[in-house]
Assembly symmetry: C2
Homo-oligomer: 290 residues x 2
């Protein structure tokens, strides 16, 4: 049996299941905060694993989730959204009873529900979503500062006791982020609004440019469409996992766009200026919150 | 009578009518290319004019357009879109016969048509649109490099002869930009597609965020909405000047968004991934063109 860890020292050994941009950045951020923490990475490709060890991201790499989970205090599952639940459950089953399981998924309702069907896993799993990322993918783009001052949403389930919740909060605070707690449903509805649908509109703006107009894009267009370079497979999985909220939100956007169209068509320039001013104010308020 | 200018030396004296971000940056870019050029600014507020002289943007500031145009080789009209035509005509009437009049307006059809009704002005006016800018306004944000490698669209009218077209191209090349020539109509249709409607969608994304969701916005949202901080008055004028093309383009976007909604609702994940891949490819192609 493992020696019980001194609370001050928790965690001593963590496992990152899925070493991409987010998993790699969690490792670097935790290492920055606690250089003595031992970090094991679960990778599909051991050659890459060796590369991440050389880069100082991992201490050890393995392709065996079981082996990586056998003796650790916390597992961070950082695979694409559509594989999260399965790996969270497997990690819970392979790890010590006190081991915290958390994740980085962009959607929360589906995964919390799926893990909830396995009570022994549900107890240990505190779902999380750090609001940080990049259109780039791969651990080679990881940075220790990715989560600094960023919001980390924690979405507890009824299966979580105080101790696991406290540890999840402690763990994510080590990355440099600010913890915000809400239900998985609330999370998914809000994220559809501020992330998933905006991402789809960014892709829409990119997709609509054709022929000679391509030479006329300016810096505004480049900013609006930056995230459209994101991984299509990852975003397809996010849309699949948050379908209902995304459709509801997309409808709200389409309705607003149609109203805007009427304002422009009717030459109601005062109304248009008011509309644009509201948008500007919302933008500026979001900056103040940062 | 003015001594005829040596062609190598053209222009010797330029006037900037409206010294904001764009007007100020034209002055700085031209000064960088030809330090000996004399630059007069037409300002409403002479205290600000003095400030722009101190900042090295202008040599002289005046609130009299007539005075500023009396003896110059080129006038750049850089006021908001809704005041452009009137000031272009007044500049043409107040300046020497050989003086080139150009502008920086984001829409071209309306202004070229309005100036076209005054044949003496139409002859001298070669409309232009440098695809460069910022959500910031005011000459204090001017930079000499704003136009470097950027596309400068020139939209000739039938009233322009070869000599004026050549000079317009020569003038704008001095700013560091790349010249692209098209008709005013083509310009407005393309710009509705790559600039005006994307701007409205950026504002839409900013405007839709409410309540607790505000704390969940990430860097993607911040990029998508950057231009939503732009001046509402300026953008209202742009929409008014390009109403027809903007509505047509907005309809095309709303139709595409509705099709996307159907793809997501029907759980056609392969189709969604194909759709997102097309957007990613369009984005990446636009980078290669830069």
């Amino acid at each position: 049996m493992n020696k019980p860890h001194d609370d001050q020292q928790w965690p001593q050994r963590i496992t990152i299941a899925g070493v991409g941009l987010l998993g790699g950045s969690v490792a670097l951020a935790i290492r920055r905060a606690r250089p003595s923490i031992h970090i094991t990475g679960v990778v599909r490709d051991l050659t890459k694993g060796e590369q991440w060890i050389q880069a100082g991201i991992l201490d050890v790499a393995t392709d065996s989730l079981k082996e990586a989970c056998r003796d650790c205090d916390c597992v961070v599952v950082a695979t694409p959204v559509d594989r999260l639940a399965q790996i969270v459950i497997a990690s819970a089953q392979a790890s010590p009873e006190a081991c915290l399981i958390t994740d980085v998924g962009s959607t929360k309702r589906e995964i919390v529900a799926a893990v909830g069907k396995v009570p022994t896993a549900a107890k240990k799993f505190v779902a999380a979503h750090p609001i940080a990322g990049s259109e780039k993918s791969g651990a080679e783009h990881s940075t220790a500062s990715l989560f600094d001052q960023k919001t980390i949403v924690i979405t507890p389930s009824e299966a979580n006791d105080e101790e696991f919740l406290r540890r999840a909060s402690e763990f994510w605070t080590l990355t440099g982020g600010r913890i915000l707690t809400m239900s998985p449903d609330e999370h998914d509805v809000h994220l559809a609004s501020v992330s998933h649908v905006p991402h789809l509109l960014s892709a829409l703006v990119a997709k609509m440019v054709e022929g000679p107009a391509q030479e006329l894009v300016g810096s505004g267009w480049q900013d609006i469409t930056r995230v459209a370079a994101g991984d299509p497979e990852m975003w397809t999985a996010i849309c699949a996992a948050n379908r209902v909220a995304i459709i509801r939100e997309l409808d709200r956007y389409i309705t607003e766009a149609s109203e805007l169209r009427e304002i422009i068509e009717s030459a109601a320039d005062d109304a248009l200026q008011t509309w644009l001013t509201k948008a500007k104010n919302a933008k500026e308020q979001s900056r103040e919150l940062r």
